[in-house]
Amino acid sequence: MFNKVSHITDALAGQQYIASDEISTVVFLAEKMGKPILAEGPAGVGKTELAKAWAGASGRELIRLQCYEGLDEAKALYEWEYSKQMLYTQLLRDKISQVMSDASTLSEAADKLAAEENIFFSMRFLLPRPLLRALMSEKPVVLLIDEIDRADAEFEAFLLEILSDFQVSVPEIGTIKAKTQPAVVLTSNNTRELSEALKRRALYLYIDYPTMESELNIVKMRVPDLAPMVAKQIVEVVQKLRQLDLKKSPSVAETVDWAKALVAINARHLDEKTLNDTLTVILKHESDIQRARRALNSKTTRDVGLR
C-alpha cells in the first residue's frame, strides 16, 4: 500500500497529522517489517495521535488499550462472562432436565452433561478485551497500547509474548491466532525504564517537542480560524516557555487548546491582558504560571513585540 516513505507522510498529512521525516520512516519500516513501534517522549507531543492518524491513513480500525497501574490479563485480554453464564444456566434448567431425563444411570447422566458443557465455555461467553479483539478482528487493525510505562513490569512481560507470536491460548477453547497481524503502537511517557526485551523487539521512536515551524503548521492545520499573526505569536510564546525550567512544559496539545481558546474569545492579537488571562490554558501549576508571567513580562514583551 505504501511503497515510499513520502507516501506515508502524505497519508498522515491527510489525517491532519504532520509527520517529521523520522516519524514517517519509522511508520514505513513498521509497515514493511511488521514490527511494533515504541514511541517515547514528553506528554502531549502527539504519540497517541500518531496511532490514530496511522489507523486513519491505512484504513484500519483503531483498538486502544489504556494502561494503568494494576492492569491485568483479565482486563487486557479476555474475561469469562460469569453472570451471563449463570443466567443461561438458570434459563436453560428446563432444557437440561429434558436432556437428562432419558438417562437411566448417574454415570450416563454425567456423560450427557459433559457432552453439553462445551457450550458454557464457548466464544459466546467470552468477553474479549482490547488485546484479544485486536487478534480476532477480521479486518486489519492498529493496536494502540497507551502509556505502557504505567503498567507493571509483569504486564510488560506478558505483552511481550503476545507481540512476538500474535497468538494467545485460552485454556478452555484453545489457541487463538491472529487472523491479520495488527500494527502495534506502544507509547510511553518515560516515567519508568521499560525492559530491554521490549525495546529490542520494537522500532524506537523518540518524539520531541516540534520546532517552531512545524508547531506553527500544526496550529494552522488544527485551528484554521485563528489569525495567522496570533498563531505565530502563541507558538513563539510556547516555544519560549519550553526553554524555561517549568514543572510541566506546555505540550503541543495544549498549544492547540490555547489556539482554540483564543478563537473562542475572538482575540485579534495577543496583548498582555489576553496573555495573562489565558495562560492557565497551557500552564497547570501555580508556580509555573508565576514564573512564566515573570519571564514573559520582562522578556517576551520585547522579543515577540507584544503590546
Binding site: 523520522e22 520512516t25 517489517m33 494494576g70 525504564e193 530491554e196 523487539r201 524506537y204 521512536l205
Partner: protein
C-alpha cells in the same frame, strides 16, 4: 554495505550503547526496506532500529557521519591531457625515486588506496599497536593521523618535495607548462582527498577499539568511590546519574508494593463485588496493605557530611511518590526543619539552598543538643508508622550523646535506621559515639559511596 553497518554497530557498542544481535539484524532488514539512496531515510532507519534510549542519540549522531559520509571526494585523473602527455606523465612517474613512485602513481592516476593498503600503512606506522594502548581522544586521533600520513608520504612538505621531483621529470620528458599545471593541481586535490580518507580510517578504527570512553564503566566506578573523595566534575556527573538510579529504585519499590502479600479480608468490598453472582462470594476482596513508608530524616550537614547529606536528601525526595510522608531536619549545632524548602522547590534546587542556609562551622556538631530540641518541638513527626533515619557520622565533639532521647524515639517509631559514611572500624574512635547509638538502631548502614547509599535506600522500601 552490510560490513559497514556491522562495523558501525561495533563502534556503537564500544561506546557503551547496548545493541543486541537481533537489533543489528533488524537494522539490515530496515535498510533493505528503505534503500541507501536517501541518506536521511537511511539514517532514520538505522536510528530507529539501533538506538532505544534518548541518551544514546548523541553518540549515534556523532558516529554516523564518521561511518556513512561517503568516501570523501573521489580521486580524479588529470583532465585535458593529450595521449602524448599521458605517456610523458607515465614515463616521468617511472623515473621517480622508489619511495615516492607508488604514491605519486596513485595520486596522478586517481587510484583509491584499498583497505588492505591502508591497513598495511597503519601497520608500518605502528598506528595499530598504538591504538590499543591509548585512550581515545581527539588529540591522540590527530597525532596518529599525522603519523600515518608521514608513513604514506602525504604530509604537505613531503608532498611538495615529491611534486617538485615529478615536475622536474615531466620537464625532462618535455611536457608543456599547461600540462604540468594540470597534473600538479590534480595531484594536490587527490592528496587532500586521500588525507581525508586516512583521517577517517584512523577515526573508525579507534572507535571500534573496545574500552574507548567506557561511559557506563566510568559511572560504575564513580558509584563505588567514596562521595567525599570526588572532584566537583565527578560529583556533577553523579548528580546526573541520580535520576536514572532513582527511576530504577522507584520501579523496584512500586513492584514490591504490588507483590507484597495483600492485607486483611475486606467484608464490605467482597459483598459489594459479589452482588453480580447473586451474593455468592465467588471472588474475595482484600484490603490493601499500607506499605509506603513514612520517613523522618535527620541529616548532619557539617563539613565532613555534606556530600553524603546532599545525595541522601536528593534521593529521598526524588522518591517522594513512593513515600507517604517525608519530613526532614538538618542539624549541625541545632536542629532545623528543612521540609518546607523541599515543598517549595524541586529536590535539585532545594538541596543547595539548604546547604547554603546552614553554613558549616568548626567542630560545633552537637547531635545531643539537636535531639533535645527535636524532641521538644517536632516529636509529633514520629509515630508508629514512621522510619527515623539518621544520616551522620555520630561524632558529637564530646557533647552528651543523649541516648535517652534516641530510646524515646525508638519507642515511638517503627524503625530507626542509621546511615554512616565512616567504615565500622572508625566507629567509637575519638569523639565518635557510634558504638553507643548503634545498639539502639534497627539497622546501621555504611554509606560512603553512592552505590551503598542506593542499597541502603532500597532497603528502606523492603517489606518488613
Amino acid at each position: 554495505m552490510d560490513t559497514r553497518v556491522v562495523e558501525f554497530v561495533s563502534a556503537l557498542r564500544s561506546r557503551g550503547v547496548r545493541v543486541s544481535l537481533a537489533e543489528s539484524a533488524d537494522s539490515l532488514r530496515a535498510i533493505t526496506a528503505v534503500g541507501v539512496m536517501d541518506r536521511q531515510l537511511f539514517k532514520n532507519a538505522l536510528k530507529t532500529t539501533l538506538i532505544k534510549e534518548p541518551a544514546d542519540v548523541p553518540t549515534f549522531e556523532q558516529l554516523f557521519p564518521m561511518f556513512f559520509s561517503g568516501e570523501g571526494a573521489p580521486l580524479q585523473t588529470p583532465q585535458g591531457l593529450s595521449p602524448e602527455q599521458q605517456e610523458q606523465l607515465q614515463n616521468a612517474l617511472d623515473q621517480l625515486k622508489q619511495q615516492i613512485r607508488e604514491l605519486m602513481k596513485m595520486l596522478a592516476n586517481g587510484e583509491q588506496p584499498s583497505r588492505k593498503q591502508l591497513d598495511q600503512a597503519a601497520q608500518q606506522a605502528g598506528v595499530s599497536a598504538q591504538m590499543r594502548s591509548f585512550r581515545m581522544n581527539q588529540q591522540t586521533q590527530r597525532w596518529l593521523t599525522e603519523r600515518m600520513l608521514r608513513e604514506m608520504g602525504l604530509t604537505p612538505e613531503q608532498l611538495q618535495e615529491a611534486i617538485e621531483a615529478l615536475m622536474k621529470e615531466l620537464k625532462m620528458q618535455g611536457m608543456n607548462g599547461e600540462g604540468r599545471e594540470e597534473v600538479n593541481e590534480t595531484i594536490e586535490q587527490n592528496a587532500e582527498g586521500m588525507r581525508e580518507q586516512v583521517a577517517k580510517y584512523i577515526g573508525q578504527n579507534m572507535l571500534q577499539q573496545p574500552d574507548d570512553n567506557p561511559y557506563r564503566r566510568r559511572i560504575d566506578d564513580l558509584m563505588n568511590r567514596p562521595l567525599a573523595s570526588l572532584t566537583d566534575a565527578e560529583t556533577d556527573e553523579l548528580r546526573n546519574h541520580v535520576r536514572r538510579l532513582v527511576a530504577r529504585l522507584r520501579s523496584r519499590a512500586a513492584l514490591r508494593m504490588r507483590h507484597a502479600k495483600e492485607g486483611d479480608f475486606d467484608v464490605k468490598a467482597t459483598m459489594r463485588y459479589n452482588q453480580r453472582y447473586g451474593g455468592v462470594p465467588i471472588e474475595l476482596r482484600f484490603k490493601r496493605h499500607h506499605l509506603k513508608p513514612k520517613l523522618t530524616v535527620i541529616v548532619d550537614v557539617s563539613t565532613s557530611m555534606r556530600p553524603v547529606a546532599e545525595f541522601m536528601l536528593r534521593m529521598v525526595y526524588e522518591m517522594q511518590d513512593q513515600v507517604s510522608k517525608a519530613r526532614s531536619f538538618a542539624f549541625i549545632d541545632d536542629i532545623h526543619d528543612i521540609s518546607i524548602t523541599f515543598v517549595e522547590h524541586r529536590p535539585e534546587e532545594a538541596v543547595p539552598i539548604v546547604l547554603h542556609e546552614l553554613p558549616p562551622g568548626h567542630y560545633n556538631t552537637d547531635l545531643g543538643g539537636s535531639l533535645s530540641t527535636f524532641c521538644q518541638d517536632y516529636l509529633d513527626t514520629v509515630d508508629r508508622r514512621t522510619t527515623v533515619i539518621f544520616v551522620g557520622d555520630g561524632r558529637n565533639n564530646y557533647n552528651d550523646p543523649r541516648l535517652d532521647l534516641v530510646t524515646v524515639l525508638k519507642g515511638r517509631a517503627r524503625r530507626i535506621v542509621w546511615m554512616n559514611p565512616e567504615p565500622p572500624y572508625m566507629w567509637g574512635q575519638g569523639d565518635s559515639d557510634m558504638m553507643a547509638y548503634a545498639p539502639l538502631c534497627d539497622a546501621v548502614h555504611q554509606v560512603a559511596t553512592l552505590q551503598q547509599l542506593a542499597d541502603a535506600i532500597d532497603d528502606l522500601f523492603q517489606k518488613r
